[in-house]
Amino acid sequence: MSGLRVAVPKGVIFEDALVALGGAGLPVDVLRENGRRLLYQAEETEFIVSRPSDVPVFVEHGAADVGVVGKDILEEQRPNVIELRDLGMGACRMILAAPRARAEEVQRVISHGEVVRVATKFPNTARRYFASLGGQAEIIELHGSVELAPLVGLSECIVDLTATGTTLHENDLVVLDEISRSTARLIANRGSYRLHHEEVAALLDAIHGSLHG
């Protein structure tokens, strides 16, 4: 129905995104066929599959017209895109966590405004969080397995996303604070939102219907 190019995130959010987009009438089945391709064409719609954190980049530059991405990533990157709809799925929490054995000490260090070392994939989010507390943090940016950092002394605590808390639990990390809650959003490029407004509006209406109908 659409003629749009849609950016779909890989990973845990992938299946949820397909359900939301499929529910809105987009031909998403083609995405389930083959896990290796990056670009799919079905009927009028083109899909690209990328890392979740790259979805806003494709959309901001107009390489994709619309995309599905977590609010956590939008908060971190603050891209210049239009946030159209809360899809209500892919729920997760941005948390501050530390090893159970040292949790109290870390809590005390933070509340006294002493410098604490934080490992995270979300440096901007972490920086803003500590600034809002009046705390000081030395931020170490990692690209994966953030939970490892406090276990081997790279950092004292972590700022990370968690959906179920399983990984935290398995690594004996406890949540000290919840920074924010996040769900997946439908975003659009500013130009596409206007130049293809009918198509984007139709998609928006259909997604709205699928969530509330």
Binding site: V57, V59, E60, H61, G62, A63, N80, V81, I82, E83, L84, R85, D86, R185, N189, R190, G191, S192, Y193, R194, L195, H197, A201
Partner: protein
């Protein structure tokens, strides 16, 4: 022991050297645009690249500005835009002259680039400012000038480009009337284009004031009268005047035959806080960013001591260039020869309208063809007993004797 250190001889991140043919295209497009402005009576000004830090008030622009200090230890900014410098110029230099001031510019501006975000730290803007009139006719005239200018350099509207038009005061005025306590939060969310947050906040007030949620969603072609009718339901308080202003602008645009290029978006409130009325952005097919943007800023000049209303726009030239159809430059002839006869011939050819690059040295045909190709010339010539020997600038092509007066005609075929 001598150690080699990396020397910083490249350009800094976000900046670049612009070489032909791109530089030629950029300057040509800029010249065409400024000529178009001149045809509407706009007079060009130049302002310093450095401004006192206080001149730029917009927090977002201050954040992205390059900063430095002058000998008196005052903070300076490399101008991140042209609107504030021109407002300053008008207030300081033209206070006694009759209004409106219609000024134009074509200058580079500077912003700290987002590394890895494909942004430039230095880019060229061409624009106009009309200072000293509140007339909706002036808003419409600048919008019409913008559309005509973009069409004149090669964009076709529509579907190549669309001008998205909003009215900052409409949503603001409505909010101030129906939901004053939620207004600040809603405007911040809308400026960030976060319609999800707008929905969240409006959930608390939407029962009595459906426009809180609906106005940002009023988007569609300006030719669609139903859009303004729906907006009319929310024309309360100051919003009524704002909507009337928008209708008036649209009537002027219609009279000029420009309505087809315009799309209304009542959720568009402008990227800068200084906008107070009509605001607009131009999008082109194939580009995710704005090609141009502008609007009315009636309070900006007050800061500089002259309470004058104003409206204007800026075109981003590099972005415009990236969506323009490619145009072949006029054919260029490389004339080879160090003799006086060659010099005389070059002058004669130029007089007959041929674009000539004279190489005042002797070169073998192969080398001359190689040189011609490197400078984008399509023909190579040598002086001959009658006129010149002429050949296309391709390896192995045959030279044909051509009388001087026939050269221009042959080069055009």
């Amino acid at each position: 022991m001598q150690r080699s250190t990396t020397r910083k001889f490249s350009t800094t991140p976000g900046t670049r050297d612009i070489l032909p043919p791109e530089s030629t295209r950029l300057l040509d497009v800029q010249a065409k645009i400024l000529e178009q402005f001149r045809l509407h009576g706009f007079r060009e000004v130049l302002t310093p690249a450095l401004e006192y830090s206080e001149v730029i008030e917009e927090p977002k622009l201050r954040d992205v500005s390059f900063k430095l200090f002058d000998p008196d230890n005052q903070m300076l900014l490399l101008r991140p835009e042209m609107t504030s410098p021109i407002a300053r110029l008008v207030a300081q230099r033209l206070g006694n002259a009759p209004t409106p001031h219609k000024l134009s510019y074509g200058l580079p501006v500077y912003r700290r680039a987002g590394v890895g975000r494909g942004q430039s730290a230095e880019f060229h803007q061409a624009g106009v400012e009309v200072v000293g009139s509140t007339s909706a006719g002036e808003d419409a005239a600048t919008i019409a000038l913008l559309i005509e200018t973009l069409e004149n350099v090669g964009l076709r509207a529509p579907p190549d480009l669309v001008l998205v038009l909003g009215q900052t005061a409409f949503y603001e005025g409505y909010l101030r009337k129906v939901a004053p306590e939620a207004a600040a939060g809603l405007l911040v969310a809308l400026a960030a284009k976060d319609l999800v947050r707008v929905d969240e906040i409006s959930a608390g007030v939407v029962d009595e004031a459906p426009g809180v949620r609906e106005i940002p969603r009023l988007v569609g072609p300006a030719t669609d009268a139903s859009l303004l009718e729906r907006a009319g339901q929310y024309a309360e308080g100051e919003a009524a005047a704002a909507l009337e202003n928008l209708r008036e602008i649209l009537a002027h645009l219609d009279a000029g035959g420009h309505l087809g290029s315009v799309m209304l978006d009542l959720g568009l409130i402008g990227r800068h806080n200084y906008y107070t009325g009509a605001v607009y952005e131009v999008y082109a097919a194939g580009l995710g960013f704005t090609v141009a943007n502008g609007g009315r800023y009636d309070n900006l000049l007050r800061r500089f001591g002259e309470a004058l209303p104003a409206t204007g726009f800026a075109i981003s030239l590099e972005r415009l260039l990236s969506v323009l159809p490619h145009e072949e430059p006029a054919p260029l002839l490389v004339l080879v020869g160090g003799t006086v006869e060659a010099t005389r011939l070059a002058a004669e050819l130029r007089f007959s309208g041929v674009t000539v690059l004279h190489l005042a040295e002797d070169h073998a045909p192969e080398a001359a063809v190689g040189y011609a190709r490197s400078v984008g010339a399509s023909w190579v010539g040598y002086p001959a007993p009658v006129g010149l020997k002429l050949a296309p600038a391709e390896p192995g092509s045959e030279f044909e004797p051509t009388p001087t007066e026939k050269v221009a005609g042959r080069m055009l075929t």
